[in-house]
């Protein structure tokens, strides 16, 4: 019995979320033979990293198509490998690319696909719990094996190294059609980010409808600047055109994971909380002590952000003696 995990690579190894998907997969079928599919260049490092995470064999699809990201070609390589290995379950990380590739595999095989699973109790059909609404709601679902196609939601299991031997490496050249080769990244446009990016910031200060206007963000920007953090906002704010969508925290915006999230004048709709639930701590500043964000916050200040936020900035300056 085998399982197959489609892994994403980083410059120096394998993406952390793919290692989490491996841990999830290993827990599904103890004793299963764990195979991994990687595309691009083969190498010893790949064998060591994946071996240390329980993989017995790495299949490296080599093709000039993989010089840049080519999602349909990756899916075709996976389908070719699935045909040879007949795995009971095929997994990938629930990243943009992981979900995309497994959906393409599902379309090619005409099989069901369960995206962003958080748990599985195994069985046949495979019983999974998956995320809906960006994780604000869960669904228990079943899908047939051989193969069941699933992605693993980020950060629901930890990567767990084992004392494994380096994995065996097999390279293969997938047969790709012109159409599969044509769908590829042909250009990369770099974006200039001023200061720290929202996704990576240690501190995020966000404003919601309570800011009242684009000008209302001046106090938010000031506090974020003092803390070396990034400015965020709620969906209501971007829909009103007050801030660009790149500032939006939420299910359909950016998912953040700062040490502290300071949410000012934000009520805490589920679609917003889906974007900030990775924050280690949440401080809510809101006039309404009953706002739903209070149920998810660690700290609260009841008051008008237009008074509280400048006072915090002033207190911070005073404490620093500046």
């Amino acid at each position: 019995m085998s399982i197959l995990v489609v892994v994403e690579r980083q410059v120096h190894g394998v993406d952390e979320l793919s290692l989490q998907a491996l841990a999830f997969g290993r827990a599904l079928e103890s004793g299963a033979d764990v195979h991994a599919l990687a595309v691009g260049e083969s190498g010893e490092a790949l064998a060591h990293v994946l071996g240390a995470h329980g993989v017995s064999q790495v299949h490296v699809a080599e093709h000039e198509a993989f010089a840049s990201y080519a999602p349909q070609a990756v899916a075709r390589a996976a389908v070719e490998l699935i045909g040879r290995l007949s795995p009971v379950v095929v997994l990938a990380a629930g990243t943009e690319r992981g979900n995309e590739v497994l959906a393409r595999v599902a379309a090619l095989l005409d099989r069901p696909f369960a995206a962003n699973c958080v748990e599985s109790t195994g069985g046949e059909p495979l019983r999974v719990v998956r995320q809906r609404w960006g994780g604000s709601l869960l669904e228990e679902a079943e899908l047939p094996l051989e193969p069941a196609l699933v992605t693993v939601a980020p950060h629901v299991v930890a990567a767990s190294p084992v004392n494994g031997h380096p994995a065996a490496i097999e390279t293969f050249r997938p047969a790709l059609s012109q159409e599969e080769l044509a769908l590829r990244v042909v250009e990369h446009v770099q974006t200039e980010v001023e200061g720290v990016s929202l996704a990576d910031a240690k501190v995020v200060v966000s404003g919601g409808r309570g800011t009242g206007s684009p000008e209302g963000f001046a106090v938010i920007e000031e506090l974020a600047g003092l803390l070396g953090g990034a400015v965020g906002c709620s969906r209501a704010v971007t829909m009103a055109g007050w801030r660009p969508h790149t500032d939006q925290v939420g299910q359909t915006g950016t998912k953040i994971a700062p040490d502290v999230y300071i949410a000012c004048g934000i009520s805490g709709a589920t679609q917003h909380m889906a974007g900030c639930k990775g924050a280690k701590r949440i401080l809510a500043i809101n006039t309404d002590p009953e706002a739903s964000i209070m149920a998810s916050a660690d700290y609260a200040v009841v008051g008008d952000l237009h008074e509280v936020v400048p006072a915090v900035s002033a207190a911070l300056r005073k404490a620093r003696g500046t």
Binding site: E96, N99, E100, A103, R104, A106, A107, P112, F113, A114, N116, P125, R127, R132, W133, G134, G135, S136, L137, L138, E140, E142, E179, V185, V186, E187, H188, Q190, T191, A199, V203, L227, R235, T238, M239, H245, Q251, T252, G253, V260, S267, A269, T270, Q271, R281, L283, A291, S292, I293, A295, D298, Y299, A300, V301, V302, G303, E307, V308, P310, A311
Partner: protein
């Protein structure tokens, strides 16, 4: 150019999700509904493309009778025709894609091929990440996903996808399928006359053959809340010094 936009009706959930007694659905008795956010941007983009390049636009949904409301929202925003695949309960991604593929084939046989078919990258509610990709595969058309930039250039479409640090660009030959994300554009609000006009426009209905779900929903679960209660640091500006203390404890100030 001919453009089709596929949309899904989803509830606006607010602060807390409550389930029906059988845990099969969200209790929507007190909720409003909307077009799923990514697809709202698809509607907006289709309207803009037809304004810029000429042609015609169609909106399609698969959903309950009430989803007619979302089709009329799209008509009010400037889409010209609406097709409703009327179903009962929620369909899985595979069944949804099959029914939409059939509807596209029959619409194209009658009125000509769509140059572009829009989907949301994933629906806000089910989050399946698959319907657009499945339809593209069935129609044998190229598909780029998660797009935040689209430009029709001759017989190609330039597609921009947001990735860490920038944007990846794909170039697809038309006809093509694209799945888009919120942030692609800022949807406009319909005018009152446009809304009234949309109420009078016909909506074509089709009843697709029911299919068995292959990703079978057993039940929905609301994740357990942490049960924590926020520590109130104070009220108004007077809380500022305590806030700074806490930020220092966390190690960010």
């Amino acid at each position: 150019m001919r453009i089709l936009v596929c949309v899904k009706r989803v509830p606006m959930t607010g602060g807390r999700i409550v389930l029906t007694g059988d845990a099969q659905e969200i209790d929507t008795a007190h909720l409003g509904f909307t077009i799923s956010p990514h697809e709202e941007c698809g509607v907006e983009e289709a309207v803009r493309l037809v304004e810029a390049h000429g042609g015609d636009s169609v909106v399609l949904t698969l959903g309950p009778p009430e989803a007619e409301e979302q089709l009329r929202d799209a008509l009010a925003l400037g889409i010209e025709r609406a097709i409703h695949l009327v179903t009962g309960e929620e369909w899985d991604g595979q069944a949804t894609a099959e029914a939409i593929t059939e509807a596209i084939r029959s619409e194209e046989a009658a009125s000509g091929r769509f140059d572009l078919v829009f989907f949301g990258n994933e629906s806000a509610d089910a989050g399946g990440f698959q319907v657009g990709i499945r339809v593209a595969q069935a129609l044998e058309r190229p598909c780029a996903t998660g797009l935040k930039g689209i430009a029709v250039e001759g017989s190609d479409v330039r597609c921009e996808q947001e990735v860490p640090g920038g944007r990846d660009v794909y170039r697809l030959a038309l006809p093509a399928v694209v799945t888009v994300k919120e942030g692609l554009n800022l949807p406009h609000y319909p005018s009152v006359p446009a809304k009234l006009r949309a109420q009078r426009q016909p909506v074509e209905t089709v009843t697709p053959t029911p299919r068995e779900a292959r990703l079978r929903k057993v039940r929905l679960l609301v994740p357990e809340s942490s049960g924590k209660r926020a520590e109130v640091l104070g009220a108004g500006a007077g809380a500022a010094e305590r806030v700074v203390e806490v930020l220092r404890e966390i190690g960010v100030a």
